[in-house]
Symmetry: C2
Subunit: 244 residues, 2 copies
DNA sequence: CCGATAGCTTGATCCATATCAATGACTTGT
DNA sequence: ACAAGTCATTGATATGGATCAAGCTATCGG
């Protein structure tokens, strides 16, 4: 897969943060109108990726953080023997690319799951802006904190939960996130393959498939390929051991 | 275990960052002398914990980040059913407590493994200082980046590695970190129990014990209770799948 | 010095999940 | 409409590490 990026930088950016419907989920949350306008200027460009295209890979210079405008991404780390561990899936309004803040080089790879639009934000510019806008500084720390929390959650899941609990937690998490983005909470359209789900949860693809079947038998969900209807959030939550 | 803290704030802090021998491992790395002096003022106090004492627990207000002055800590997350997942061990010069940056409440608990001195740094003060000292701002981002990288590493380990690889990676990582702190790299004194190691690595205590025995048979290490001599870093590294 | 306790080791058995193997269901291109 | 490829399901079998059980070894208080 080539390291392809397709830039859609038509003169001025057509849609900066000010007009973006995702503002409340993304960095602008809680900023004043003037601050959001400033933030919009930091969006250096927007990029569109086709399914399977790579945004960055290990060793790439890390000057930007990225926000999903539409579509979805996965980021994953590689072992030297060709193994993969998916670290997260990124939905519209979510930020990613914070790894590599230490060495200024990315350690992981980010790939589009579907046709995906990305906003690129210059880290340097953001940093400067933080000095004059305290609210933005706080927002950025909040985003970082959320990232760290999410990773702790996943560590708990991989280290301590059984297969059933893992998948339940995964479904609940996705469901919540799609709800925040205007989904009904009834139906989810999975942007990732079973392979991706299994990899992320530390399970074999067959195990994921069997669990989907079992959850369906138990009337918790209905599965049809990538479409999942959630019938019993309550019980799924209990299975997941809640706090996910 | 009571939520005990014993403050050693004798008038002025006896030893701020300027005189600290760990400076090069901790936040002051790469700062000018004047900046280090400023940073020292942000260390609001130093705390000494006895083995098993808690520094913070889930739900506690998160205003500080912490640096280990001497001794060692573990931080872990709890499941609602009483389960534990250790998220990390913290050695002298390392910073921790970055979880909770999002909600300003800690999600995890931090406990001393031995008698441990901690420097507390006010997040608000640090934030202010960042605006006037770019180098400090970069340092903080570096520390955050390192935290995120370390967590990705652990995710890879828990998700994809076999028991043997996990323990090898763990030993290599500890060895490196003790070396940076002036250790010989020959001998490690483990500050944590087998229970802790197993929990951290997602293994049963018995498995850890058996692996130690096997590594010893293979002449890779010598184990005597909490003392470990590393004989063959090379091969351990290979077993770990390197990049740990 | 002795008993109690916490931490560790070692052996025997079991089980959750991986792995192997085959088939089915969409999707895409010709 | 068919061939080929990718993705998903389902069944049979294997296994790495958990769990259960017993004993060992420092350490500490009295």
């Amino acid at each position: 897969m080539p390291h392809a990026k397709q830039t859609l930088n038509i003169g001025h950016l057509l849609q900066a943060c000010k007009e973006c419907s995702l503002a409340e989920l993304c960095l602008p949350r809680g900023l004043s109108e003037a601050e959001v306008e400033e933030l919009g200027k930091v969006v250096s460009r927007q990029v569109t990726l086709q399914p399977g295209e790579t945004l960055f890979r290990p060793g790439d210079r890390c000057n930007m953080i990225y926000a999903v405008r539409s579509g979805s991404m996965k980021s994953f780390r590689l072992t030297e023997d060709g193994g993969v561990q998916i670290l997260g899936f990124h939905l519209p309004g979510e930020l990613f690319g914070l790894d590599g803040l230490d060495t200024h080089l990315h350690h992981c790879e980010a790939v589009a799951l579907e046709t995906t639009r990305i906003c690129e934000l210059s880290i340097d510019e953001l940093e400067k802006l933080c000095c004059t806008h305290v609210a933005l500084h706080h927002e950025i720390l909040r985003v970082i904190g959320r990232e760290i929390s999410a990773e702790h959650e996943l560590l708990l899941l991989l280290g301590k939960k059984r297969a059933e609990e893992r998948l339940a937690a995964f479904l609940i998490s996705l469901c919540k996130r799609f709800c925040q983005r205007g989904g009904s909470g009834e139906k989810i359209n999975l942007p990732m393959t079973r392979q991706d789900i299994g990899n992320y949860l530390g399970l074999a693809i067959e195990t994921v498939s069997r669990l989907f079947a079992r959850f369906q038998e138990q009337k918790l969900i209905t599965v049809q390929r990538r479409q999942v209807w959630i019938h019993d959030t309550e019980r799924l939550g209990e299975m997941a051991g809640l706090d996910g």
